[in-house]
């Protein structure tokens, strides 16, 4: 029995090690190349390790402006999404109404729609109402595309907050809005953190939406500006591209680590997949 389970473990370890190498090589490339003065497309140990690539890309033009744009876009859209979703989840979670079921069904349906497909009409629409190439328009669309999932998740988290505490607050004369702000939201801190991080990460990495809706270079977020490494700069400096990729990816990785440390791995999936 024990010998068999040891053999089982060895087999599993070997299989996972193969997967680890296959998944790890591209990641190894980006880390090693960012530190390599003469990086190319292969994974190799840097002959001359250097932070020169980071120095080279840490300029307003290449890094700071795009990251600031990303921050404005994703921060703005996340704030809008979380605020709207928290408000919307309250009546859906607390009151019984004939509207609830159709509303939730529609939300769940919209959660699954391929947003890529609506980008062409969104572009055409935005041209007509002068929202094209505006941060505001992009933020609104980002928020609209995240809202169905955010409301769904938020409602599930809110269902977990016991109603008795609110009833006590009502007896003490608190209104609906007060009890939402003072009682319910503080109690669902982890839920709000999950929704916030999830929305932010989804938008931070999104390429197609800003690629379509924003035109002027000075408004481009990092997800689009990264393309410049290939375009007008002539030959691609792979070390710098790798360094920029790492800088650009770090915020979402940190957020993910933070949230999954505190609230367990695979954080948003309980709500997302099980409905």
């Amino acid at each position: 029995m024990t010998r068999r389970s040891t053999r089982n473990r060895l087999t599993a370890d070997t299989a996972l090690a193969v997967v680890l190498v296959a998944f790890g090589l591209p990641l190894a490339w980006v880390v090693l190349s960012s530190l390599d003065a003469d990086a190319n497309l292969r994974v190799k140990w840097p002959a001359h390790a250097t932070f020169g690539n980071f120095d080279a890309v840490l300029t307003p033009d290449i890094t700071f402006t795009p990251l600031l744009n990303s921050l404005i876009l994703c921060g703005g859209a996340t704030a809008l999404t979380v605020a709207c979703a928290a408000l919307a989840a309250y009546p859906l979670s607390r009151y019984r109404s004939r509207l609830n079921n159709p509303y939730l069904t529609t939300i769940l349906f919209a959660t699954c729609l391929p947003i890529t497909a609506v980008m062409v009409p969104v572009y055409a629409l935005f041209v007509q109402v002068n929202l094209i190439d505006t941060m505001a328009g992009t933020i609104y669309f980002f928020a609209a595309s995240q809202l169905p999932f955010a409301i769904w998740l938020m409602k599930n988290f809110m269902d977990g907050v016991p109603k008795e505490l609110e009833e006590a607050a009502w007896t003490d004369g608190a209104g609906t809005f007060q009890s939402l702000i003072r009682i319910v939201l503080p109690l669902m801190g982890p839920g709000i953190a999950v929704v916030t991080v999830f929305c932010f990460a989804m938008m931070w990495g999104n390429f197609f939406v800003p690629f379509m809706l924003l035109l002027s270079p000075d408004q481009m977020p990092a997800s689009v500006s990264i393309n410049d490494f290939f375009g007008n700069r002539g030959t691609v400096v792979y070390g710098q591209l790798a360094a920029f990729s790492i800088i650009y990816s770090t915020p979402v990785i940190l957020l993910y680590v933070l949230v999954s440390r505190r609230f367990g791995g695979g954080f948003a999936l309980g709500g997302a997949v099980k409905g």
Binding site: L27, V118, L125, G275
Partner: protein
């Protein structure tokens, strides 16, 4: 009525910026709207759809979308995700932790970064060919000879973590007694997988397949970064075809018709997904 008031902000944002474009999509798919040149557009009925079904490039995009979805989502992400989840349960802790972290990192990375990493991996001068050289195997220009395979692999690399997490959660919920009982009755590993494990997690399989497929249907950035849909349309899935028609060829009406078809397919998957959730106890 007042009680429904908190729903207003979210509903307004979604109505204006999500439902609006979808409704507009349905409308312009039936017009010959163009980006430049033409001042006005006119109603053309089902012309765009008829054109699509006679357009070799469109049919090619449909075929490639099917290949891409089948290879990367159904075979790749789903099966590999399940295998990883099952292996993790038996593996030793350090191997499990490191592998899990690496697979999840690939998932958390921004789409474009993932695209670049896999572009570097598959390029002629890239890591894959370096390994093949080292093993004495013939190398080739993967992004040129087998672009759809390369982008499918990239999507597996990027998306498997999701399935892995879903299946890890599902496997944890299977009571140990049931598997043990099957083992005592003399069932081997395959029999246990086929007759015990898979039936018990079938709902997770259903929902995971739906979500993977929907996700894969709308992949744009990853393919755009790696191949731009090329060489000569050999990795042009529907979203890239839609983009090319609408913006590079300025035929918004036609591009939108393609988008509408994509939306319809997505909606069908959506409905099936909701059915699966409904049937949960």
């Amino acid at each position: 009525m007042l009680r429904a008031l908190p729903l207003a902000p979210a509903t307004i944002v979604m109505a204006l910026f999500l439902a609006g474009p979808i409704a507009y999509c349905v409308y312009i798919a039936f017009t010959d709207l163009q980006l430049t040149g033409q001042a006005s557009s006119s109603f053309v009925g089902f012309d765009n759809f008829r054109t699509a079904f006679h357009d070799a490039a469109f049919l090619n995009a449909v075929k490639l979308t099917l290949v891409f979805t089948f290879l990367s989502s159904i075979v790749g992400q789903n099966t590999l995700g399940l295998a990883l989840a099952a292996l993790m349960k038996r593996a030793s802790k350090p191997v499990r932790t490191v592998t899990g972290a690496v697979v999840v990192t690939a998932w958390v990375l921004p789409e474009v970064v993932a695209g670049f990493l896999l572009y570097a991996f598959f390029r002629r001068e890239g890591t894959l060919n370096a390994i093949l050289d080292w093993l004495g195997l013939p190398s080739q220009n993967w992004l040129f000879t087998l672009p759809i395979l390369a982008v499918s692999f990239a999507n597996v690399w990027r998306g498997t973590a999701f399935s892995m997490l879903v299946y890890s959660a599902a496997l944890d919920e299977i009571p140990a007694e049931i598997t043990e009982a099957a083992e005592v009755d003399g069932a081997n590993a395959w029999q246990r997988l086929w007759h015990v494990t898979l039936p018990m997690i079938r709902r997770s399989i259903g929902t995971n397949l739906m979500l993977n497929t929907l996700q894969t249907l709308s992949v744009f950035g990853l393919i755009w970064v790696m191949t731009r849909g090329g060489p000569s349309n050999h990795s042009q899935t529907l979203p890239l075809f839609m983009y090319e028609q609408a913006f590079q060829k300025s035929m918004i009406g036609y591009g939108t018709a393609v988008a509408l078809l994509l939306l319809v397919v997505g909606s069908l998957f959506s409905v099936v997904y909701m059915r699966l959730l409904r049937s949960e106890p």
